[in-house]
């Protein structure tokens, strides 16, 4: 039972989300409609894109808290280029490149200068935000061209160009992490860095790639942000990095690296975003939002932690089971089941991390 939840983390969260939708639908008729789904989807695009990049970084056992500023910075660059008369396509490309460059900078700090990723990205969080403010002189960027806003408009079947772009990004990252050799390296590097190095994986390159991808995706999120609201305020992207990390954790991405998946992040983001819309339908004042998000997150963490502890206990008991009376005396047990005191056996009261 516990094993099932531990192994099928995404399925469990998915089930819980569906159940929550159904319950809310029962209490508030009209909630379960295509238009709600469409609203939730377009509301989740920014967070989804950032969370996807954050996942790649977390898989390699790093963390990126600078994505909110990368989002803001690249959105501003896009806005400035467009308002100076550049075409949409080249502006978008330059914007994405800037995001990649920002990610590269983070990656270099973390690998070559061996600055802990939380510190490095905390620093660049302030740095990128400042560069953005220097570029805008502290003013908002308004009157973005219609061509950009068009990207966010829902077409005939209720899907915008941006939705398609995000779906492509999701599918791309899913395919890469699941099915390519290099994609598996992300997991390997996060799971056990020494082992990955030992197996000939270029761990610096893999970590930098994760940061570059995260930067590029944050820039994409910046484009989505600008297109959706039509202007770029100073605080664009503020706090999205924390939400993205929370969505990852909800979606079963381990902050210890090496495990997590795109479907998990997808469900995590949808779950986070649907809290807003559910509150509206349940006629709960909006100021409960943070409280509920926090409580849900902590509850999931607590359950998750307890399940993992229980599973570890079971594995541990199995490992030492050779000495229980019903397997007979030690003279009949197979030898290689015997515990050995090297570091890989569970130590005394080992902590999960």
């Amino acid at each position: 039972m516990l094993d099932f939840f531990a192994r099928n983390r995404v399925a469990t969260l998915f089930g819980v989300t569906v159940l929550a939708f159904l319950l809310i639908g029962m209490v508030a008729p009209g909630y379960l409609s295509l238009s709600t789904a469409s609203v939730i989807m377009s509301n989740s695009l920014v967070l989804m894109t950032v969370a996807l990049g954050t996942m790649l970084v977390i898989l390699t056992r790093n963390i990126d808290v600078s994505s909110g500023s990368v989002l803001g910075l690249s959105a501003v660059i896009l806005g400035l280029l467009l308002n100076n008369g550049m075409g949409l396509a080249p502006a978008i490309i330059i914007c994405l490149l800037c995001g990649a460059l920002a990610g590269l900078f983070n990656g270099i700090l973390v690998t070559f200068f061996s600055v802990p990723s939380i510190i490095a990205t905390l620093g660049t969080l302030g740095l990128f935000r400042g560069i953005m403010l220097i570029l805008t002189g502290g003013k908002w960027i308004e009157e973005l061209p219609q061509s950009l806003k068009f990207l966010a408009e829902n077409g005939s079947i209720g899907i915008s160009v941006l939705t398609v772009a995000v779906v492509i990004a999701l599918a791309g990252v899913w395919a890469i992490t699941r099915h390519t050799r290099f994609g598996r390296y992300f997991y390997a590097v996060g799971d056990n860095r020494e082992a990955a190095r030992h197996l000939g994986i270029r761990i610096h390159l893999v970590q930098i790639s994760a940061f570059v991808a995260a930067g590029t995706l944050a820039a994409l999120a910046g484009i989505i942000f600008a297109a959706q609201i039509g202007f770029i305020p100073n605080q664009a992207g503020n706090g999205v990095e924390l939400k993205a990390i929370a969505a990852n954790v909800l979606g079963g991405v381990s902050l210890l690296g090496g495990s997590g998946s795109v479907p998990g992040v997808f469900v995590g983001v949808i779950f986070m975003t649907s809290i807003d819309s559910a509150l509206v339908f349940l006629k709960i004042p909006a100021f409960w939002n943070d409280f509920i998000a926090g409580a849900v997150l902590l509850l999931v963490l607590l359950l998750d932690g307890r399940v993992r502890i229980a599973v570890e206990k079971a594995i541990r008991a199995k490992r030492y089971a050779v000495h229980s009376p019903n397997t007979g005396s030690g003279t009949t047990g197979p030898v290689h089941n015997t515990p050995s005191p090297t570091s890989s056996t569970p130590g005394p009261q080992e902590h999960a991390q």
Binding site: G123, G126, L127, L242, L255, W288, L301
Partner: protein
């Protein structure tokens, strides 16, 4: 190790002196003593929270929820005051709420054994949510805040003793107390040992859980202190009082020498780093640099300082190896 930190603290002091020299040259008013003293009121809260945060980090943890705890405790103070409780009781309620917030964090961390960063990220939302909900109770809309404090409270932020403004005095007193506790007491030593090696600490029979719980509770209590100081300074308690301290406080702790891996850090370092960060922002503002840009520079400062610290360690090892190699070649030939 000790010598290294002395050196690092000297480096921070040097940075501070350099700041004074540069900003003083740009704008002589900057070095005006009363200006130097009174501008501390704008950043004292960063230090008030960064100091206990340093202790949490040394013990091998981290706490980001303090940014919401500050607002939550301020709101609780405001509500207690709203219902006409005596001032002392209101303050006690705020401090108590801070302690409980810390205890809550520590308990969840120990029960779930999930990294403190994630857990306190969750409580960052929970506490700010709780503060918003609570401020709804007394009819103060989300971010308007609760005011109408007694004069004796609001004037506290503006009194001074021997020329030192009250918020700075609070910070100074706190720094002295925590300095003694962290660097001279048995508890302080346990904090370092837990952070240096949790394994060895467990095998030595140190009560790791208790020690870490106390560090989180200290952070909660001092977050409440920061909330009170800010409420008095602004004359109202708001949910988002602490939001702006999140990054500067962590920056101060790390710039001050606290290692995110635990086991290293110092109160003097964090105190000096607070001054470096605070005066950097003040100085930039006085030199006519827009306040937003100063955030870029403090971010850059953090990155450069930490990269230098790590880089110089790498460089030292490299140079030592080179010297040995050349010596050997010389000896061989």
């Amino acid at each position: 190790m000790k010598r290294f930190f002395l050196r690092w603290e000297m480096a921070l002091f040097g940075m501070l002196v350099a700041e004074f020299a540069i900003f003083g040259a740009l704008n002589p008013n900057f070095l005006n003593l009363s200006n130097l003293l009174y501008s501390t009121s704008d950043f004292a809260q960063i230090g008030i929270i960064a100091l206990p945060l340093t202790i949490v980090i040394i013990a091998g943890g981290i706490d980001v929820s303090f940014a919401s705890t500050i607002g939550l405790c301020a709101i609780i103070f405001g509500i207690a005051n709203f219902f006409g409780l005596p001032l002392a009781l209101c303050i006690a309620a705020a401090l108590g709420a801070g302690a409980i917030a810390g205890l809550f964090n520590a308990t969840i961390i120990h029960l779930s054994r999930i990294q403190p960063l994630v857990v306190t990220l969750g409580s960052l939302y929970l506490f700010s949510g709780a503060a918003t909900v609570l401020s709804g109770v007394v009819g103060a809309g989300g971010y308007e805040g609760i005011g109408n404090f007694p004069d004796s409270f609001t004037s506290f932020a503006y009194i001074d003793v021997a020329g030192l403004p009250a918020p700075f005095l609070v910070l100074l007193a706190e720094a002295i107390i925590l300095f003694v506790i962290l660097h001279f007491s048995r508890f302080g030593r346990s904090v370092f040992l837990c952070g240096l090696s949790e394994h060895a600490a467990r095998y030595s029979g140190l009560p790791i859980r208790t020690i870490q719980t106390i560090t989180y509770m200290m952070t909660g209590i001092f977050a409440a202190v920061a909330g009170l100081v800010l409420s008095a300074y602004f004359g109202s308690a708001r949910v988002d009082l602490g939001t702006a301290t999140l990054l500067p406080a962590i920056t101060a702790a790390v710039l001050g020498g606290a290692s995110i891996y635990g086991g290293q850090g110092s109160i003097i370092g964090t105190f000096l780093a607070t001054l470096v960060i605070g005066y950097l922002q003040q100085g930039l503002q006085m030199s006519g640099v827009p306040s937003q840009i100063s955030s870029a520079l403090s971010g850059a400062l953090l990155v450069v300082a930490v990269a230098l610290r790590h880089g110089s360690a790498l460089l030292t090892n490299f140079v030592a190896a080179r010297i040995m190699a050349t010596n050997r070649k010389r000896a061989a030939s």
